[in-house]
Symmetry: D5
Subunit: 147 residues, 10 copies
């Protein structure tokens, strides 16, 4: 057994039972973004969270333990994603990558925006011309230091 | 002459003169995100915008014309970016890609978040534990249609 | 179970029963292009469509549910397709890619032809020198906007 | 000197003079699709066509000769194109590739749609919800033969 | 079940029974080159041919049906083949590729040698200094057309 | 100076003067296939052949010397060729690779068809349904030996 | 002019003048590791440091400005380095990567060792069986947070 | 059975029993770094060590034998690792690779730091601003020799 | 069943029984290098050799037949090998590749060293500073011929 | 100026003057293998050796200094070499890689054959059936150590 088996069981059960990520997240007590990433094999659960998910998805004790093991992260099967929704994000990095770099350095100097001390919030933005996906990313700025 | 030559001249002049993207954007009359992407060879200028940039960077008539030609987009030299700041964004797509997909589909159904009818806003978020980079992405939801 | 299992069952049953995509599409009530893409794991069915396909291919309730889940899209095993029929399409993109780009921009300005708000129609074009494949692609033009 | 030098001169001159592909094609006496592909280094000109283009772009005798040499074809710098407009076409091949294959084989049997005995027509399709790009591809069906 | 399963069964049975491609081809009534390609999952059989092969390899009705379905072609596991015999052919394309291109264009003008309307004949060429493999490739010339 | 500079000069001069490979080969006294490969930087000339080519293309003494140096072979810019004519050959290797392997082994046992002790002959094959390209490849069979 | 030009001038001057990184670092007032990375185009200098380097390497005012611009980082020409010394480091990541992951997670829980809030110290470790390279890496642990 | 099966059993058992690498290493009598690498399929055990691990993980005689067979090394599924913790190490090689090369050559001359005659020590470094991961790498310097 | 299954059975049995390649080779009556390559799925056995190996490894009649079928060669899972021992050989080709080319051409003219009419002999070379691996490669020189 | 410029000058001069590596090596006082690798930019010269080469190839003081700088090693333009002579060596690693690994481990245990403490000797082996290339590789065995 490995983490991937647990992830597949979670997804399979979610489809069979017709569950929603948002409702699952509420039971776990965390944001829908973090909770979904956890269920998709990218984050690490506490024992308590694993128990909650165990109940929702019918996970055995050993499967719950795997949720508490830090996974090998990376959710995509290829370096350039083929799925159109995910590709658009890759495209944003490709087209705007140097722009993002310039503007963060202009404001903060040399360093990076953390992808670890990081949170993400995805919401619907109502718009008469067609609703929009609104995403807020927040990452701690980490400066390169001289030594 | 091609667009790349113009981009290099803009960057080179910016360094030599010590200019700031935010100030340049104000003169152009657009956001700093769009204006920087334009200057880095990813967007297309109107004749008037090209003239403004021409003054700032000392661009000749032909160079200004190139700013008005739609460029071959994509700002990165490799499919997986090596620069740490840009890589963190690639990592977000890699680690959270399937999460983003699940949550947008849960809210909107099958479709994508547009990277064309799209805007981005990068700001400093003050934080006593260390300031954060706050980025708001807004993209129109485009539904897959049956036909 | 996952979507791929359902796709394989559909293809396998189609061969065993000697079915035709066009006839299947008529029962689903959509075009043969969209319906085939759905059956090959690229599109998302409504509950009713899933039921129709369930009858045709002998799909169980859970398999029908998977047809209603948005799939991870992309139908090819390699970035450059090896199958000669599909490669010819890749070749058209490779040889005519910059031409298509120039002509759409000349007519519409900066933006793209949508692959989401999109339809395709494949027909036989009779020709005394040898019949031709006639394909009509229709995609909404999406303009890049300044912000 | 090589064909690429001639292509770059053509593009550069087009920008400097503000020419349009459609007008150029009319002078050459062929479609805008074929003529643009020729100018972008993908097709081969007759002596007469080379002369016409020579006049338009100020090409010397040797440069005109290069237009009559069959070029090494392929217009994209990477196997997976980064430019959003061209990528959408790659995405169509990726998402619909197996669908196209199934439907052509269902109609014609084993074989391919030729990318050589081929033509393409790109037009604007007026639409109250937003104009569309309409593209008609016509390729001769070439059957695999037993021997 | 898929075509690959049928191919593996054919190869496995051939080894177990000690059959020869040439003898199989005679029963099928086609060349050894085309028949072998068919058995290796690259070509499409008629119902009658499938029946003949069914008898030779003990294929069930459903397996025979798969032989009549157009396969996803391409027989190699990697873009650059590692097997020395097949690599030598890749090397011929690599070393002589531009030569072949020049000479076909010199004789025929712009166009290609078809790999669809194509046949191949492999024979032993006796030679006192060591026998040679003699291969005749015949492909229809397809001219690029202006439109 | 390197061999590539000489190759470019040869090609450039050939276009400028409107020469033909077949006529060049006759002066060199070898086949058009070998001579073209030599001129394209893949083979090695004798001093005498270099002198003949020197006269035809106006090569200086040092350039003639480079023709006598064994080149780093491989004439294609990418592992999978983008040019349609050359790609068809790659496709033949991809689709028929395992077939070629089976049939050569069936006739000769374990070993390869040499790409070094090798010759190629490209001719026009008249055909009322459209002329064909006829190519004869002849390579010495080299058996794997036990030791 | 770009940063790469400055890097090449620095390296070229260092060879011509026979300078040592350790001595340069002392003048800059930082460690030899950080200073070398700065000179090789990976770090960002203060105005004062740029002035010191300007004196050492004869850099003009504009070149000194480039040292103060955040560079596009990544010092290797290929994803897998070919240079044996650097490859050994890649090999350590390849062979010990999962080990490092397990042990850091065992000690710290889910998170990473920062490559930004990071320092490195390379020294000679005397050893009678042959001196050793001793490298101390120190990176802040950054925990993944739930949100 | 192969080494990979044994590795998976070890990891699976470790999760099920909640074991710690440090404790396992103490029983084996070697460092936690080497022992973990051994358990993850990268190193080779003595018969005695295999027996100790056999007891801890419930390995059968044949599984213990596999621990004594030299494995095919390399623990990562892709050339560029996607896991953020391991990627940071790859990034260090990418950003500092040329720096490390320069400084080792400055101190030792031409040669490499061995990844075979090598040891690694990972510890927690207490720090009021946030604890750090401290890693000491020690590799024998191996000089290139002239011959 | 395929050759790979036989290879895995041979390796698995070798570990379980604690056999040595050298002893196996003696029974086969060929060198340890060729025999090991045969057992690892790279060479082709005679019926008699297959019988000998059948006895040693407990292979059934059908498995013995597979040893007599020419395999698809190439023993490495990635183009650049990750295993350190095998990588060093790749590195020798990378670092010394052009040197080997120059020296063989200097001695023999244009051509190659055969990897088919080839043998290899690996022995221990005693050395007070540490024993060495001594490898003798012998390959027939095959000259490129003009035609 | 960089090492690559010096390498190109050396090769260019060697062709122009018609020099031989073996004769150059004698003047340098080292083997032809090491000396050629040095001249091709893979090894590092002493001041004296640089002076000798400086005389032979007409190198200026600064160029001689570059020969004494440790180069970024790796002499091939692609991971899989296209040149047939060098490819055969890559093929030996591909076909015999696992065999070499097995036999060295059988004789020496876990460890590698060094590519640093390494020498190579290439000679002509007379053979009535065609002369052979005989290559002796000698690399120190480096054992993996437990710690």
């Amino acid at each position: 057994m490995n983490r991937n088996d647990v992830t597949e069981k979670i997804i399979s059960t979610k489809v069979a039972k017709g569950l929603q990520w948002e409702a699952i997240a509420k039971k776990v007590g965390q944001s829908k973004e973090w909770t979904t990433a956890l269920c998709l094999g990218q984050m690490t659960a506490t024992a308590e969270q694993a128990k909650v998910l165990g109940k929702i998805f019918g996970l055995k004790a050993e499967e719950q333990k795997w949720l508490q093991v830090v996974p090998y992260k990376g959710s995509l099967p290829t370096p350039v994603p083929t799925d159109p929704l995910i590709y658009r994000w890759y495209e944003i990095v490709s087209v705007y990558g140097t722009t993002i770099k310039e503007l963060i350095h202009e404001e903060f100097g040399d360093g990076i925006m953390s992808a670890i001390d990081f949170s993400m919030d995805i919401t619907r933005e109502a718009d008469p011309k067609g609703d929009r996906v609104n995403v807020v990313l927040s990452g701690k700025f980490l400066p390169y230091k001289q030594y």
